[in-house]
Each structure stands twice: as C-alpha cells, then as structure tokens.
C-alpha cells in the first residue's frame, strides 16, 4: 500500500484512452465500474475536445458481480460495434475488472466481430499511464502493421503524439513543416490522427521519428525489428536538439541536412543585453523524462541558466535522465511521490521551476516562479494559439515560456533600488503578472525568517524538515537586525540569500547570523 496525495500519472487504461482518443475509427471497450467514466472529462474539459472519447464502459455494479459480468461485457462490445462501426477495436479491463478476471480479450475474440479486435493486458496494480499508452500503441501496431512497399520519395512516420499530451498537436505541425523543408514527407502520424488502416501502412515509411519515447518507444522498437524501420533518438527541442535531429534524419534517409533558420529568434534573444540578468539563474526541472532532459540542455546551453536539480516521474526514462543529470553536475530525482519532489525543490531553493501542473502548485506555495514544460498539465496549458515546443518555432516559444515567469531585466534592478517604494515593494511581484504576490510578503516579525505559510499536503507523509533548512545539526539563529536586512532583499532572491547565508554560517560553525554574516556570505557567493 502506498499513501498518495497527488499523482503524476493515471492508471494504464487512461494511457490506452489517450491512444484511442487520438486515433480515428478505433473504439475502446473498457470493462470498468461507472466511476471510471470520470476519465472522459480529462479529454472533453481539459483538452476541450468536441467529441466524447471513443470509449464504451461496461459500468458494472455490485448486483452484476453476483450475476454475469462477462455477459455484460459481451453485450457492451456488441452494442458498441453496432453503434460506432469502427475499423478496429481495442478491449481491456480497468483496475476493478482486472480483479474479477473476466478475460475481455478472450470474450471479444470468441465473438467473431468482423473487424480486428486487439486485446490489451495492462497490469493496473503495477504500471501507470505512460506504460498504458506505449503498450497500447505497440499492440495496435503489431496487430495491424505489415511489411509493405516503401514510398518512392523519402518519408517518415511521426510516432508518439497522443491525446492529452503536452503540446503534441503543435509539435506535429512544426515537425511536418521542418521535414518538408528537407524534402521528407510524413507517411503516417500516429497515434494522433491515424485510422487503423493508416496503421497498416506504417511500413511504407523509410524511418520513424520517435517524438515521445514515453508513448511510442515500444512500437518503434518493434518496427525496427520486424519492419526494418530505423528510428530517431534525438529530441528536436531547443536549437541544439533541432540541429541534432536534422542531422540524424538526413543521415537515416540520405538527404541533405537543410534547416531554414530565418524564423529562429532564440539565439539573438538570448544574446541581447536584456537577457544578461538570466545568467546563472538556478532552475529546477521536473516532469516526464523526455521533456526534462531536452529542456535541461536548453536551460543551460541556450538560456544560460544553472541547473540546480532535475528529475522525472516515469521510471522508464530514469537512465536517460540520470545521464543528463550527471552531465549537469546534479543528482537526478526519480520519483512519482509529489511530496518528495516538493521537499527536493524546497531544499534546492531554485529561482525558477520548470515542471508540470504539480510543480506550479509547489512554486505557488514556496513563492518560486514556475513554467510548465511537461504533462500532466491543466486546461490553460492547451493554448488557443500555435505553441509547439519542438522545432524552430518551439525554440522561440521556449524562450518566451522560460522568461515569462521571471522578473524582467531592468525591472529587477528597479526592484532592488526602490525596495521600499510602494509600487516596487516585494508584494508587487513581476509587473506583467496580475495578483501574484508571493505569500512571504505578508509576514511580519517573528523569530527568524520563515518559509511561506501556504498550506501543504507534505505534512501528511513527508518527514518534517527541521527548522529553517539545510543547516544540519547546528541550530542557526538569525539576529533581529540581520533578519530585517534579509527582508530588504527582493523576494525573488531572498530564498537563495537565506539559504546561502545559513549554509555559510553553518560551514564556519557559527550559530548566530548577524548583518555582517549576511554580507560575508554575499561576498563569498558573489559571481
């Protein structure tokens, strides 16, 4: 049993739904109780889809358990086929149905429906959403794709985009254009937008572009083995990522590595003087493995940030993330425990978080700005505008995304100069964000600086961190004057100043922090 407050991933059948909902003319019959239909709202509310997901739930009840849930499944399957007439069906069980062991796959097979029926076996008590999506798409590809004649012109399949993915819709558009500039056509994009008959033609491509390893890797590995399709390993996120990707595709297909950089603005924006203030900003990255490792590179090499910590919630990507973390000189945090992530971020005291919707909330609580760079995301992260994170435009979008939560260059200086000014005081926050005063500002007096006071779920299962943070066994006390001085430091660097000063004092065995200690520490850490 694992005590869980918030989860990064849903159960595996939600992953299967992401595949089914992204595709066309495919229907999913899910053996599940009525409450599991909540999953529809993920797609219709959060992603604003205009159709219900193509899912029929059997919604068995207590009274059915004594009778015949298997027959209920059979009837639901038949009715779904007759009503929706899909080209193919997938069938499976949710966590509860897994326990009653009706074998939906076997039942559906014996029904002799006139379309391919693909059985899913998703272990609900061991695996999670991304596994469910990856496995489902692999099963569909394996069941339907056959070797076939290659397209005359160089072509690839785009593999991995699903419903509810982070910016998948726009990444597909961006990559399609980028590949077209190289003279490479997209044979099939799947799961997003593909019908089961499209899946049968996967083998006509010359290679696969694996956009999201989370949801497409198993299928790509199978196609490599059984259809002879090599697949790309680089992730076209950021300037470096895009260049690597172009080179890799050119190499795989034997075409010229052309890249039109007319619209690429990130390098100049990053080089222009206003961006000087970005130098060395400490960022903490957390999300799915693919986005985190790609964004870590962008953060360090293209924005000039310092990576203060990084990690991912999907164990499947742990190795790749650890490798990049080592390169960045930090230790990777691999966990799906929200409370652990919160504790790690608090300890690292970064100036910016790049994360998921969960880290946005952690950021709110700790008063640290946050940009969302990975699923799971909320409704506002499915923007109306075109906003890919892959390709050339993706790089431009990333510059904006990563800078937006921060206080802008000149503004940062004004805040420092006029920190007692009513308009520039701490609580004002970045001028371009309405009403986001950090919670720290409200505090007055008391014994020593405190963490923001927002309530947190961490109380229920994280071990309480002692007092004020990274001071280990030594209890460090802030003298009143030093505490007042600390409050004069603008809020967006105060956390770092506090932490540095305490670490500095502790390292020297000092138990009291005076104004002098504060400035000694400042000088010590000056860069």
């Amino acid at each position: 049993m694992k005590l869980t407050v918030w989860t990064y991933e849903g159960p595996p059948h939600v992953g299967a739904m992401r595949v089914a909902t992204a595709m066309r003319d495919l229907h999913y019959v899910l053996h599940a109780p009525q409450g599991d239909t909540y999953a529809d709202l993920l797609f219709t509310m959060i992603e604003r889809r205009d159709h219900r997901p193509p899912v029929t739930y059997t919604t068995f009840k207590e009274r059915d358990l004594g009778a015949d849930t298997a027959d209920l499944f059979r009837r639901s399957c038949q009715a779904a086929y007759e009503r929706f007439r899909p080209e193919a069906m997938i069938v499976g069980a949710s966590c509860t149905a897994e326990l009653i062991q009706d074998d939906p796959g076997g039942i559906a097979e014996r029904m002799g429906l006139p379309v391919p029926v693909i059985a899913l076996d998703l272990p609900s008590y061991q695996r999670k959403e991304n596994f469910g999506a990856d496995e489902t798409f692999y099963r569909i590809a394996r069941a339907l794709a056959r070797p076939c004649e290659k397209t005359a012109r160089p072509s690839v399949n785009l593999i991995g985009p699903t419903a509810l993915g982070f910016r998948h819709r726009d990444d597909v558009t961006e990559l399609t254009a980028l590949l077209s500039d190289m003279g490479v056509e997209v044979n099939v994009c799947a799961p997003m937008g593909a019908t089961p008959s499209d899946i049968t033609r996967l083998g006509a491509a010359h290679a696969n572009v694996l956009m999201y390893p989370e949801t497409g890797e198993s299928a790509c590995r199978w196609m490599e083995r059984d259809l002879g399709l090599p697949f790309t390993k680089s992730i076209p996120i950021g300037v470096g990522g895009v260049r690597d990707f172009v080179a890799e595709v050119a190499d795989l297909l034997g075409v010229a590595p052309g890249l039109d950089t007319d619209r690429l603005r990130l390098p100049w924006y990053s080089a222009s003087v206003d961006s000087t203030y970005l130098t060395g900003k400490r960022v903490f990255l957390f999300g799915d493995g693919t986005h985190v490792r790609a964004m870590a590179r962008v953060a360090r090499d293209e924005m000039g940030f310092e990576v203060a910590g990084m990690g991912c919630y999907n164990r499947e990507q742990a190795r790749a993330v650890r490798a990049v973390a080592t390169e960045m000189g930090v230790e990777a945090l691999i966990t799906d425990d929200y409370l652990e992530v919160e504790a790690a971020i608090e300890a690292a005291a970064p100036e910016l978080i790049l994360g998921t919707q969960m880290e946005r909330h952690i950021g709110k609580r700790l008063g640290i700005p946050c940009a969302v760079i990975s699923a799971p995301v909320h409704v506002q992260d499915f923007p109306a505008r075109y906003a890919p994170v892959m390709g050339i435009e993706g790089a431009n979008v990333l510059f904006d995304t990563l800078v937006h939560p921060l206080v802008m260059g000149l503004e940062e200086h004004l805040l420092t100069m006029f920190r007692a000014d009513p308009e520039f005081h701490d609580a004002a926050g970045p001028s371009h964000h309405g009403g986001h005063a950090p919670l720290v500002a409200a505090e007055e007096g008391g014994a020593g600086p405190r963490a923001p006071v927002a309530e947190s779920p961490r109380d229920i299962s994280a071990k309480k961190t002692e007092g004020g943070g990274a001071t280990g066994a030594i209890e460090v006390v802030w003298l009143a004057a030093a505490e007042r001085e600390l409050k004069k430091i603008p809020f967006f660097v105060r956390g770092k100043a506090k932490r540095n000063t305490e670490a500095f004092a502790a390292a020297r065995g000092e138990t009291e922090i005076s104004v002098d200690t504060l400035y000694e520490a400042k000088a010590h850490y000056a860069r």
Binding site: M1, P33, Q34, D36, S94, S124, Y125, H361
Partner: protein
C-alpha cells in the same frame, strides 16, 4: 403531509411513469463527494483504500483545489496487497499509524471503500473498529463505501453520513425536546442563514449532520426530528429513523417556494403556527423572489433536459419549471427515492419524461432529438454537446456552489441562465470547434 404548499395539478409527478435504463452510466462514483465533505469537516481526514484510478479520479474532480491542504489521500493497493488479506490489513494499519502520527490535528478518520477494496473483500468496518481501539479517544475511525459499484456521485455523502449515525450518542426521548437534526453538508454561510431563520421561528435546538467538528457531536433519539436539505440522503434518513428520529417531509429548500415550504413543514412538525413562519421569512422571501425573477428572464419559456448525475434533478426541475418558467423535457436521475422526493414530485407538473438510471448513448439520442435550450449534464458530456450546438450547464457546480435557501435562490437561477446569456452575448459567428486530430 402538510397541505401548506400549493399542489401542482393534482398529484404532479407522484405517479408518473418512470423510464428505467440500465446501460452505460456516465457518472462519477461516491468517492467524489470527499471533495466537498472534507472542507465541511476540518478535523476529519478521508483515506480512500483503492487503486491508482481512485486517486486519479479524486485529483481530477478536485482539480482547482489542488493547492489547498487536502485532508484526503489514497492508500493505493499494490500487487502484494492483493495476494493476502491479512497482509493488506497490516499494511493499512501501517499507513494509518503513519498518517495519524504526522497529523495530530485529525480527530476523525474515514476509511473509504472503493471498488477494488470491495471486490477483494477487504473489510474496512473491521479495520475501523480495530484502529479505533488503538487510537481512541484521540481519533475516531469510521468506514463507509464510496465505490462505483455501490454508489453514484452524491451518494458518497449519503453513505458517509449514514455511517456516522450509529455512533451518535442517545438523544431526546420525547417530542418536548423540540430538537431538529438537519442532514446534508451546507456551506457555513448558508448554514448560518438557516439557523437564524429557524431561531426566528422558535426552533433553537438545531443540529447539523455532518457536525463540523467531532467535539460538537449531538444525540439522536425518538424526540429528534429530521429534515433533509439534500435529496440524496435516503440511507442517512433511514439510519436516523432506525434510531427513532422522525422525518419531516418537505420539498428541498431550493428557490423561494421550496425554502418556504421547507420551513412551513418544520414549523408544523413542531406545532408552530404558519403565521409565525410567514412573518419570519417575509423579508428574505421577497428578496429571493425578486432575485429569481431577475435571473429567470433568460430562462422563461425555454426548455431544459437533465442527464442523471447528482440526484438534485427532481427538485431543480421543480424550481426551474415553477419559479423560472422553464419547460422540462426529461428529468433523469440516477436514483429516484420516492419518500425523500415526494414533496418535490407532487409539485412538479406532469409532462417531462422521468428517467432513472442511464443508457448514455440512448439518452444522447433523445437529447439530440429534443434539442432543448439547456442541457444539465456531467463534465464529460458538456463540451461535446456544446459542439453540437446545445447549451449546457455542468451539474457538478450545483454541489460546489451555495445554492440553498432564500439568499442563494437568485444565484441558483443564475447558474442556469448564465450559459444562455453567454450564448446570446457572444458575437463570434457560428461556433465551429477546430478540427482536432
């Protein structure tokens, strides 16, 4: 039954035929009610014993509240817990000890059953007893089911409140006690309004279930009267009746009419003359009528169709047809509790299809054929119906927003008129949802 509220034409929908459906249900399970119950009981913690699906459901339903301090969590069952029940109980004890050690502010702990815990027959009542013995008097541990195989959405509040009843101390023996129990979670501000009016009528001994804090538990006995403020509390009512309490039958206190009838029914049960009620409620009632009339402008003459969801459908149809001038096409409810809904059914004019249970695909066919002006449905269906040109009101708001009694009557009408006013206000051309892969 009291005759104080004007009957609809004769029996209203009391004896109307009911269309019973048993296909795919598109509704939440009872776990969802934790999202509002835990706000109502600040010293209680809700521990769902379930799967990752249950945790994900709670998170998706709680959505906007994610950064408030949650006093709920899920003990996610793992492969090893499924292997042996003895081990599962041991594991549960471990999780509960861990939780209580870190949350010394908790006075009540609810172990909430889910589909998986029920299918593997993990007996949470036994666990609750065992854990109470360990943690009393500091913490009272109770259990109830919020599973999707047994409960639908708001029914989770019913099973929770019903589970609290047997533990209540013995209460008043005779009617001279004049004690009233009001069952149903209400926002604090609404509860205060209600208490205030009841006091003006002369009823001061008012207990609310759920009590905000463990310390304010009250007794129940043959001298207690029970009034419901939510129609989905059938089991709770039955549990209170088993303890001797007597039901005050009344329409639900929605809108000026429902609220007035509710106070009258209670006054009558306590032998208080109706004029006392009329005097006490005159001002707020007039205010409510004005507010409803204003908000109802956009609703008058328009048709409404209810998908089954919260069990509030019948009382709301009564409010919308009688006070807002709407016409009901279909009133679907997951479960039609005749004893509880009698007052509302009697007032609801015959005409609409009454349906119980659901076959969502067939019901979608019916709503497409009827093309009502407003469709009240769950979150999963709202945008797809909007994309087909139907205005919708998602019903979950009705349990998250203060909508009871006089001062909220205008807001209640406003919840329904807003989607229609919005549609009239938008000048964006024909709404064509973007092609989405």
């Amino acid at each position: 039954m009291t005759e104080r509220f004007a009957q609809a034409s004769g029996q209203g929908c009391r004896n109307a035929p009911v269309l019973k459906q048993r296909g795919q249900h598109e509704v939440f399970c009872g776990l969802t009610s934790i999202v509002w119950l835990h706000r109502k009981m600040p010293d209680a913690f809700f521990l769902v014993v379930g799967s990752r699906t249950c945790a994900h459901l709670l998170q998706s339903a709680a959505g906007v509240m994610i950064f408030a301090e949650p006093r709920f969590a899920t003990a996610i069952l793992e492969e090893t817990d499924l292997a042996g029940l003895a081990d599962a109980h041991e594991e549960l004890d471990r999780v509960v000890h861990e939780l209580l050690a870190r949350r010394p502010d908790i006075r009540r702990l609810f172990l909430v059953g889910s589909c998986p815990s029920e299918v593997i027959k993990l007996d949470l009542a036994v666990a609750a007893e065992r854990l109470t013995a360990v943690h009393a008097p500091q913490v009272r541990v109770q259990s109830y089911s919020g599973s999707g195989i047994e409960t639908t959405f708001t029914q989770g509040e019913d099973t929770c409140l019903a589970a609290m009843v047997p533990d209540l101390p013995a209460g008043p023996e005779g009617p001279e006690a004049r004690e009233l129990i009001v069952a149903g979670a209400l926002p604090d501000v609404v509860e205060d309004q209600m208490r205030d009016l009841l006091a003006k009528i002369g009823i001061d001994a008012v207990h609310v279930l759920p009590a905000a804090r463990e310390a304010t538990r009250f007794g129940v006995g043959p001298g207690s009267r029970v009034a419901l403020v939510q129609p989905f509390l059938g089991d709770t009512l039955a549990a209170l009746e088993r303890r001797g309490a007597r039901h005050v039958a009344a329409p639900m206190p929605f809108g000026a009419e429902g609220t007035t009838a509710w106070f009258h029914a209670i006054a009558e049960a306590f032998g208080i003359p109706p004029e006392v009620v009329d005097r006490a409620v005159a001002a707020p009632k007039a205010r409510a009528e004005r507010a409803v009339a204003q908000a109802a402008e956009a609703l008058r003459g328009r048709s409404v169709f209810f998908f089954p969801d919260s069990q509030l459908e019948v009382p709301l149809a009564r409010f919308l047809t009688r006070e807002c001038g709407m016409e009901a096409v279909e009133v679907g409810t997951p479960f039609l509790h005749r004893q509880v809904l009698d007052g509302d059914l009697a007032l609801l004019d015959e005409g609409p299809t009454l349906s119980e249970g659901q076959d969502v695909d067939l019901q979608l066919d019916r709503v497409r054929a009827a093309r009502p002006d407003l469709t009240v449905c769950g979150l999963g269906l709202a945008n797809p119906l909007e994309a087909e040109g139907l205005s919708t009101k998602w019903s979950i708001e009705l349990v998250f927003t203060p909508v009871h009694f006089y001062e909220q009557a205008g807001d209640l009408a406003g919840l329904f008129s807003r989607p229609l006013r919005r549609r009239d206000a938008l000048k964006v051309g024909a709404v064509q949802p973007p092609a989405m892969p």
